[in-house]
């Protein structure tokens, strides 16, 4: 079945430092979604990428979809304590069933 690998598994940063998480697939994806899960919370949709090479920005968050549509990244500039949580990528297989990555847990040290 569809597998989406995500790295790193954990990341500790000082407040104000940048953070990046990467998502990789062995197959070409139709689209990819990113979700954020706060500690003790549930996943919340952040964004969807569809086009090859697409770049989208949400304030300090920058999302990219690779040219081959096999990888994606989420970059946070100047992290804040409110960015704490686990970031998941999720991608559908040919039957539109979603597979979530293992997630990157972000800790921001004040």
């Amino acid at each position: 079945g569809q597998q989406v690998m995500q790295i790193p598994q954990y990341q500790h940063v000082q407040e104000g430092e940048d953070f990046t998480t990467y998502c990789n697939s062995s197959t070409t994806l139709s689209n990819i979604q990113w979700y954020k899960q706060r500690p003790g919370g549930h996943p919340v949709f952040l964004i969807q990428l569809v086009k090859s090479g697409e770049v989208k920005k949400q304030k300090r968050l920058t999302f990219q979809f690779g040219e081959a549509k096999k990888n994606s990244s989420l970059h946070i500039t100047a992290t804040q304590t409110t960015d704490v949580g686990t970031y998941f990528c999720a991608a559908p297989n040919t039957g539109n069933q979603f597979y979530f990555g293992t997630g990157t847990s972000l800790t921001v040290i004040p």
């Binding site: 079945g1 995500q6 139709s30 689209n31 979604q33 919370g41 549930h42 996943p43 919340v44 949709f45 969807q48 569809v50 998941f88 999720a90 559908p92 039957g95 539109n96 069933q97 979603f98 597979y99 979530f100 990555g101 293992t102 997630g103």
Partner: protein, 115 residues
Amino acid sequence: EAGVAQSPRYKIIEKRQSVAFWCNPISGHATLYWYQQILGQGPKLLIQFQNNGVVDDSQLPKDRFSAERLKGVDSTLKIQPAKLEDSAVYLCASSLDRSSYNEQFFGPGTRLTVL
């Protein structure tokens, strides 16, 4: 707009007991998902409904797990009998339809502990 509702929020049972979870999706959402999230892992899709029909249940352990969405609105997920490895958060999500281009809205989840 009300979000996805789930109950109970927490459940503690002993192994071999039965348990049921309930989910009410966002009004008008045709697609409903049940995910299992084990601590430290990403959500794993168990079953996906489109209205009252099953779209995919390939990862549902059918010897002990069952789910239904009889009227195409709310849904129940049952485990009978539970095993220790079933300890996890069970998340329900819904989306407008089964298109992979729709975002999924998640409920708060039910945290199950099997002793």
